[in-house]
Symmetry: C2
Subunit: 490 residues, 2 copies
């Protein structure tokens, strides 16, 4: 046994235990009886304690010092393990524990504040979370930019400056498109009616199958918030059902299928190793978004979906595929990021990016956040925020310390735009296939060119190699402008 | 922090991790996609490795040496922890690992042998399992009886001699009752018809509620084999549905509710400690059996059940409560332990007890097991075994090394008989309540007098204290003779 073998055997067990922790999380959101919540907290804490002890195990430093990579895969494994180990050693245990303690309480404080539209009740806690994350960022950055260090956790290699440059180019085009679309004389119809839960779930299952979800290694259940959970050979997804809005269920499902297919598509040789999971939040989101939007909300695929819906739900007032396409892609004013359409979604992200960067750098005081949010919303969306639950209290992220996470959503959209351009070039008759509900050429291309590599390459490299060009915001913006100008007859 | 506090803090985390392992087992039987089986093996192995390391942690010996019990609860905690620790230190790690390895393979060998009725394919593996368990038993017994040492794992304080003495007194009365019942001129009718799965599951849920199952801390799902899983505030049960035999679903459910209510009824102060789970297999089985049989199969409760079934399933050819009571309790010849009625069940156990004791003591060679089984079956049941899948291959237990486990099923029945006698004395109008589907007086008595104590007392003591008399087989046999002579008009 070489040092590398010892290290990887140890790492495999750690990854297996991390999968167990993930499964407990899935259980908590789907199956757990509500009276078990306290005990589950004890169980999770015990398991997290085991994981933390393994990730800071004193033997790791020696193994990492002695381990020799004999091929590119081994080199990538060591790169990931070193990265995590360096991170663990930079942050003092006391700070990690305090962050865990404060954020677990902060989520409850945030939820109560949002329910009561009470910003003041949340601000002291938010200030404490920010202070601790700043402290952690300073440990990680070691003299560099604190916010960059936090971004790097979710999107290795990305920096605030590079993201800001992209966002600065995107913002005017998106603001212009948003105004044009909302001011257009032609407005698509809205889907109306009631769509039974059972039938929605059956259709959600068939949509998951249409996008190649491997049921032998997954399952679909209901949860309050849709999510995908697990890596390797057990990747489960959840969705939700609103009887007046079947698109919510259908596109949540397709979105989560994208995340799940990424995990399931990784080379099985990497299972239970650092290479055996999606390489970054941004690349992960690119898969969920391209499944959901560029494929699932395309004119071709929605044409097939209309037929499916008419068979299953009978008549609901829309029979023309162009009208249906418009209903699926309808843009409307709104305050809430998670309900936003393709045109407005990135605008929501950009304002969060600027605000959280300013918070982290100390350029914006927590006391001024609400005013800053509302001003920016008015300027980007043209609407006045009336209640903080529509504004700065709407997202859970900051309460649990997720600073640097929001921009990965937009990076995912940008990557999806690039990958979509590459797929269109590689699969000229894609629309003919999508029109028959057949996504296999597109999803197969993604599996072969991107998903299977897992963590082997860096996030930007794996996208660039798949596309054959360096990713930027151009393809996404071109796609959005073409698509929505057509739908809105501009 | 005293040594006792340190020890208990460590123990609580171990218990929490053991709960996680149990939940993975539940997931595997109910929710896990089949393609995840290999990965689940890795996950379970990693978690078992963590548990084993904690149970053999070098700090335990020191804590146990220094810990001082300041009250009866602490004394009982220390007794349990010492017991487990002593066991772990007596068995060499090499032997424990080999047993884990061999039995995990042996279960598959047994399943294939049973499917093919191929005893020869199973014997070498069985011989190996027996050899290893004998070796383990010798380590544990340290000069004492090997089989006693194995029994003590499942039923602390019980010995083969004490069990043999009880069984010797039971066997003639049960054989006589069996013959009388099967030869009786009056034979109860059999329930016939088809009972839809959905409606069976709805009724199973209502039966679980009728027996006081706490849905806020549990749930009911389908599985191949019914089981109860978990301790503390998360105790889940499963059942199965055969559309031609609704009693299978209903009584499996009530049985598992008995197990679950025991766990859920334990003093919540004992949660995630050695006192926070059922004290022995025998006492556990006493709860499942008294819920299922003495309460669930009583004339009074089945009268209420008949009304429920008629409401839910319409007419199925039985309207008279006495006829229904007969159908529920019908005794028929059969080879399979898990399908046996109250009269014959213990006869199945007694022959297994004698055979496994002889195997463990070296008085019976594995090669002679089949003949010994078939001879004994003919003598106790009057029927010739035709296929080993009806005979010595029917149970999984021996393949996974469960020697000394079978007798706890009968001890459970014996304890149930005693507890039933005590409840009848304490709740004179029990039948009036059961006839309304109200089990709360009986199940409340069990919770108050037995379940809440968890592991505080020894198995025999907790039953004796609840009953007010030393448990023996008398009440069970009296109950069976009275009940079945009435049903069969003897």
């Amino acid at each position: 046994m070489t040092a590398y073998d010892d290290l990887m055997a140890f790492q495999r067990e750690t990854e297996a235990l991390a999968q167990v922790a993930g499964r407990l999380g899935w259980d908590q959101e789907t199956m757990m009886p509500r009276g078990a919540a306290d005990q589950r907290g004890d169980e999770m804490a015990a398991l997290e304690g085991v994981l933390h002890a393994r990730r800071t195990d004193p033997r790791l430093a020696g193994w990492l010092e002695q381990a020799v990579a004999t091929d590119a895969v081994a080199a990538a494994q060591l790169r990931h393990i070193r990265r995590t180990h360096t991170r663990m050693t930079k942050v003092p245990a006391r700070l990690a524990q305090e962050l865990a303690r404060v954020t677990s309480v902060a989520q409850g404080v945030w939820a109560a504040a949002r329910a009561n539209d009470d910003v003041a009740a949340f601000l002291p806690t938010l200030a404490e979370v920010i202070r601790l994350r700043q402290e952690e960022g300073a440990c990680l950055a070691q003299g560099g930019d604190i916010y960059d260090a936090l971004i790097d956790d979710y999107e290795p290699g990305a920096t605030a400056d590079s993201i800001a440059a992209i966002f600065d180019r995107m913002r005017p085009r998106l603001v212009a498109l948003r105004s044009a679309v909302l001011g257009a004389s032609h407005q698509p119809r809205k889907l109306t009616g009631t769509f039974a839960q059972e039938a929605q779930m059956r259709m959600a299952r068939d949509l998951a199958s249409a996008f190649g979800y491997d049921w032998s290694r997954g399952r679909l259940d209901l949860a309050v918030h849709p999510f995908s959970s697990g890596s390797g050979h057990d990747v489960r997804i959840t969705t939700r059902v609103v009887e007046a809005d079947p698109f919510n269920c259908f596109y949540s499902t397709i979105h989560e299928v994208g995340h799940a297919c990424y995990e399931l598509g990784i080379d099985p040789d990497y299972r239970l190793t650092p290479l055996g999971m999606g390489v970054s939040m941004g690349v992960h989101e690119s898969q969920s978004r391209i499944y959901e939007n560029q494929l699932g909300r395309s004119r071709a695929f929605t044409g097939w979906m209309l037929g499916q819906m008419r068979e299953r739900f009978g008549e609901f007032g829309i029979t023309d595929p162009d009208v249906f396409y418009g209903a699926v892609n309808r843009v409307q004013p709104g305050f809430i990021r998670t309900e936003a359409d393709e045109v407005q979604y990135n605008l929501h992200i950009m304002m969060r990016f600027d605000l959280e960067r300013a918070l982290m750098r100390g350029d914006l005081a927590v006391a001024d956040l609400q005013a800053a949010w509302n001003d920016r919303f008015k300027s980007d969306f043209g609407v006045t925020v009336e209640r903080p639950s529509q504004g700065m209290l709407q997202d859970v992220h900051w309460s649990v310390g997720l600073f640097g996470y929001f921009p990965t959503y937009s990076l995912g959209n940008i990557f999806a735009g690039c990958l979509h351009k590459a797929i269109r070039a590689a699969v000229p008759d894609l629309d003919d296939q999508l029109a028959k509900g057949d996504t296999s050429a597109a999803t197969g291309w993604l599996r072969e060119n991107l998903q299977r590599h897992g963590g082997l390459y860096t996030p930007r490299d794996v996208v660039a190699q798949a596309c054959g060009f360096e990713p930027d915001e151009g393809p996404l913006l071109d796609y959005l402008e073409t698509k929505f100008r057509t739908i809105y007859r501009l």
